[in-house]
């Protein structure tokens, strides 16, 4: 089995405190069912999660690091998109 190519899976866990599933790592498994079991065994040993997603790594389309100039730098000069130009009334307190 180890001599064959076992597909890679990305693991996402939703933690106890709610919020979204978060990427926690990857693992090898022959299929989705065993990927889910391995994710449980590898990534939720200390009570980290209440829900697991596994996704075949090759199903993820990733941005090319070489494109980072085009992709991400144009936003650097658009500081007006940050919500820092509002006056927050005292009564609102911590947001």
């Amino acid at each position: 089995m180890t001599g064959q190519i076992i597909p890679l899976w990305e693991v996402f866990i939703r933690s106890r405190n709610g919020l979204a599933h978060k990427h926690v790592g990857s693992l090898h498994a022959p299929d989705a069912t065993l990927a889910l079991q391995s994710a449980r065994d590898l990534y939720t040993r200390r009570g980290e999660g209440l829900s697991i997603w596994v996704v075949p790594s090759n199903a993820i389309t990733a941005s090319d690091p070489a494109d980072k100039g085009m992709m991400f730098e144009p936003t650097a000069s658009k500081i007006y998109r940050h919500p820092t130009f509002y006056e927050v009334p005292e009564e609102v307190g911590h947001m």
């Binding site: 089995m1 069912t33 079991q37 065994d41 590898l42 040993r45």
Partner: protein
């Protein structure tokens, strides 16, 4: 001086608790032997997790045995200071790991029995037993699922994995009958309504194992002569070697801690 063995004054309940604890400890120890040798890292963790579940169950049962025996013994005394003839585990769980298929078939045989057993024990009027069972059942349910998924994949995998899985079924089959055996002591606990009758779970066990084996494209052996003796301390040659590994430190250096 090396630590001497203890002799436990066994009432039916103490003997019952030690037997169930021994099943869990010995199988847990067997799984721990895979550490560093599993076929892949993911499975290494899965085997260790299952082993830790089982050792946790053993601890709870030994601790309760200590309370019931009331001779001032703790879980370590039972685990480390009883000789091989004092152990009452099933012959099935002491069988060597063999290859990965043998380990998974052994796990399926045991887990498919103990999972409905724990579920039945949850109804025990003994609150401690019921609580131990409730905790263990969640763990054993996962062990059934994990071992079943692997048996299906091994049976339905390559010709070699199929052959190894079939060999494991054939070789371990004779050790399955003992799971449903009881002696007079355990029958008295069953009659008192304290614990379930394992014989009543045979059909459930057979159905769940047969389903997995059929899905795997394997053949479940039928009937035949069944091994027994583990419950009364008559073990295969493998258990003594296992215990020498398990007990060596506490026997050579009594009470050692680190």
């Amino acid at each position: 001086m090396a630590a001497a063995s203890i002799i436990v004054a066994e009432t039916p309940l103490v003997r019952y608790l030690l037997r169930r604890a021994d099943d869990a400890l010995i199988l847990g120890h067997r799984l721990s032997e895979w550490c560093g040798k599993a076929p892949m890292m993911e499975e290494e963790m899965a085997l260790a997790n299952m082993g830790l579940d089982l050792i946790g169950q053993a601890r709870a049962l030994y601790t309760y045995a200590g309370e019931v025996e009331a001779a001032g013994r703790d879980e370590d005394a039972y685990a480390y200071l009883r000789d091989v003839r004092g152990y009452g585990n099933l012959l099935l769980v002491e069988q060597p790991n063999g290859d990965f298929a043998a380990t998974m078939v052994r796990q399926l045989f045991y887990s498919a029995f103990i999972d409905p057993y724990w579920r039945a024990l949850m109804a025990s009027p003994d609150a401690t037993l019921a609580a131990i069972a409730a905790k263990a059942e969640k763990e054993s349910a996962y062990h059934v699922r994990h071992s079943a998924e692997w048996v299906i994949r091994l049976g339905d995998g390559t010709p070699e994995s199929h052959r190894r899985a079939q060999d494991a079924l054939d070789n371990l089959w004779a050790f399955t009958g003992e799971m449903f055996e009881t002696d007079a002591g355990e029958q008295s606990l069953i009659a008192d309504g304290l614990v379930p009758d394992p014989a009543a779970l045979r059909a459930v066990w057979h159905e769940s194992v047969a389903k997995v084996v059929a899905q795997a494209g394997l053949t479940l052996p039928q009937g035949g002569w069944m091994q027994k003796g583990g419950r009364s301390g008559q073990h295969s040659e493998h258990l003594g070697h296992l215990l020498s590994d398990l007990q060596y430190m506490q026997r050579a250096f009594p009470g050692a801690t680190w």
